[in-house]
Symmetry: C2
Subunit: 481 residues, 2 copies
Amino acid sequence: MNLDQIFNTAQEAFLFYKNISGKEKAAFLDTIAETLEANREEIVPLAVEESNLPEGRINGELGRTVGQIRLFAGLVREGSWLEATVDPADPNRQPLPKADIRRMLSPLGPVVVFGASNFPLAFSTAGGDTISALAAGCPVIYKAHPAHPETSKKIADCIHQAILKSSLPSGIFSHVEGGIDIGQELVKHPLAKAVGFTGSHKGGKALFDLANQREEPIPVYAEMGSVNPIFCFKDKLANQLEPLAKAFVGSLTLGVGQFCTNPGLIFVPKSQAKAFEKAISDELNDIASAPMLHPGIAQAYYDSIQYLQSREELRWVKVADPQHLINGSTALAEIKASDWLKDLVFQKEVFGAFAMMVVYENQDELLEIAKQLHGQLTITIWAENHELQDQLFLLNLLEEKCGRLLFKGVPTGVEVGFAMQHGGPYPSTTDARGTSVGAYAIKRFARPIAFQDMPQELLPDALKDGNPLGIWRMVNGEYKK
Amino acid sequence: MNLDQIFNTAQEAFLFYKNISGKEKAAFLDTIAETLEANREEIVPLAVEESNLPEGRINGELGRTVGQIRLFAGLVREGSWLEATVDPADPNRQPLPKADIRRMLSPLGPVVVFGASNFPLAFSTAGGDTISALAAGCPVIYKAHPAHPETSKKIADCIHQAILKSSLPSGIFSHVEGGIDIGQELVKHPLAKAVGFTGSHKGGKALFDLANQREEPIPVYAEMGSVNPIFCFKDKLANQLEPLAKAFVGSLTLGVGQFCTNPGLIFVPKSQAKAFEKAISDELNDIASAPMLHPGIAQAYYDSIQYLQSREELRWVKVADPQHLINGSTALAEIKASDWLKDLVFQKEVFGAFAMMVVYENQDELLEIAKQLHGQLTITIWAENHELQDQLFLLNLLEEKCGRLLFKGVPTGVEVGFAMQHGGPYPSTTDARGTSVGAYAIKRFARPIAFQDMPQELLPDALKDGNPLGIWRMVNGEYKK
């Protein structure tokens, strides 16, 4: 099929699929989950082979992918995500009678999804974007990632099997292979109604621009990574120097630093800098080099390090070793806050296990850092509670700069739940209103529609009198079930 | 103050204002409403003078404006709009303990608002965009509409009085006068975080493009009008020919046709076309010409009519009379569906009391019309219930093309409530996910933020243990109060 045929089939499937019940959608999603589980033995070795990631990690990622699918199945089976809202008629209202108006979320239409190189399962073919779009009622046209083509094909097969088993139209999922030009054609196609993307800033921004230049602009949810700064306070570091150094290095080097929530920037008070640097350095020495996802990514990593090595503001604690190019060895450099503040290039993400330790002298510098900081997926604050008592202004500034603010632990390990927000102000994403992890991800692929004086028998079940779905609805301004 | 000072003051005010309680925000909004009421005697004549709209209409519009403000006051006083979501910690979870994650909506920051010429009160200085942004916790920088500068200044004074009375920082509302260039500077300013706009397609699209070309792109909620088609079915017309003709003409000519929901397009079955045209024509003859908002709008109206008069596909039932340029006289033209389908120009909005009556022959033409139709704020269907029994496919197509689907009455008279959706697919707006009327308008100016393991005393009240605000929250996936 050519792209026009793919989109026409998707659009036709959409007009059917959007109207099946939440229970039927849930059963379909559960069938995808089961099919993936049943094919674990074939999926895992393919993904390991194509990603260089260890088997344990890939097995875990498949579990996460399946768990995610079940979360969305539960969400659409229950049905309250639709934001059903009913304002009943009032024929006796003066001076004019009031019409009956009912509102709910409605799926956007065919969605184009681009998967990530660093999560061949959880953020790829049957990953969060695909599944949340399907859950919302949107067909998905998935552009296979060239870094793991066979894994992608295998997962696409599983989805197609689940479609067959569920007797749904095949057009609700299409798997498209090809280069950047094909990706651009997908985004430009008039029947495409939204885009999900996880990847580089360059890639995400290019698709965002393309989508806005269409005759009909469409939303682009591009998650483009982040440096995920950690702000350290004095007493906290003094009290827990070694466990924090260990936690930091663990998070920094997890998956060879190839996570969008990997902490590439850490702000440390001068009084603790030396001791903390020593503790981090000791930990780093225990981390063996490991293969990165593919040679292109390793090359980009070493290129960035090489550029930073040309900057005299940085003092290198540990330099990445480019000897075996495919291996992403760890690196750490230190810089004074006053120097860091002078050049925005020091905020740029280096995709891999590199961190910049920024040494600050006082509160004024800390506030200036918070003001200059770009948008982030996450910001972590390591402080004793008493150290935050008079930091409300700083906390406010930092809230403006991220999607998730942590007060313990590390930013990696993104929980899949209801309250998760994985998305933040630009440039971490192109749309801070969306999350690409967790239940609320479904809302990205729907828009509200209101029905005025619609006959009961034509209304969607979610809006009918008597609430046949038994969902939470807002009726006359009150939540009710 | 220059623009930098205005934005700096707004940003400073924001970091304070976002943290005051919903009750305090509600009290402030109510104070704005009271101040407007108290100044009715001065506001109404100014707005009448500057808009050419009759006193009754302006009095009603002030009532609507005040009602709208009270709706948002109620919404933030109650507080559940925040979508507070709590996923409690589970330290015993295997293989890894689960962190405590809490999510809520958080205001975006300073919002730039552009008011509308056709609603000097309800969609202007203290209109829906300004008030929903203030309710969300965002400061507003309001660009005064040049069509009603004195009204705008007066209303801005009322807002400033309310700020003073409420002891809030003056930076939460700024009134800026100037031309298109000033408007562009406002949208380009780095501290601007979102834009609300009601007006022409040209104006809205230009701001949308500008906002996307910023270093940090920001959301633009531009409501750009629509032709609001009415689809008529045979039996319905046969049964209610005269009341429907009357309702149609009433809606078409209300406010001299200067409403974004004014029905400029009506699809009529061939068998009823002659009789319906006659009935409409009789009604139209009873409508006196009335002054339009300003001469520029009247000129644009007559220019559009003149262009359409050059198109031989149209047969004119009534031609607008350009004799008194300020007066918007009504106009009606008829066209065959087969001709209408051939040129998208026939879908273009003519701002004023002009309608195009499209005569269709059969079901196939009706489906083709639905497929080709651009995005609309509203679509109205006039059909007997039995005529819709086998029209599910058509209904599905029409749902894709609008924000509100009506089955009775007329699209003008947009109810301000919880279920209202005033916004639709492009080109009727630049963001179909938002509404500019009704309670959900507040969500446009907020984004989600998650707090992980935040100490109780630092958490916003909406997320604290024990639910001190008594709002609806999702806890562990269940709605609770």
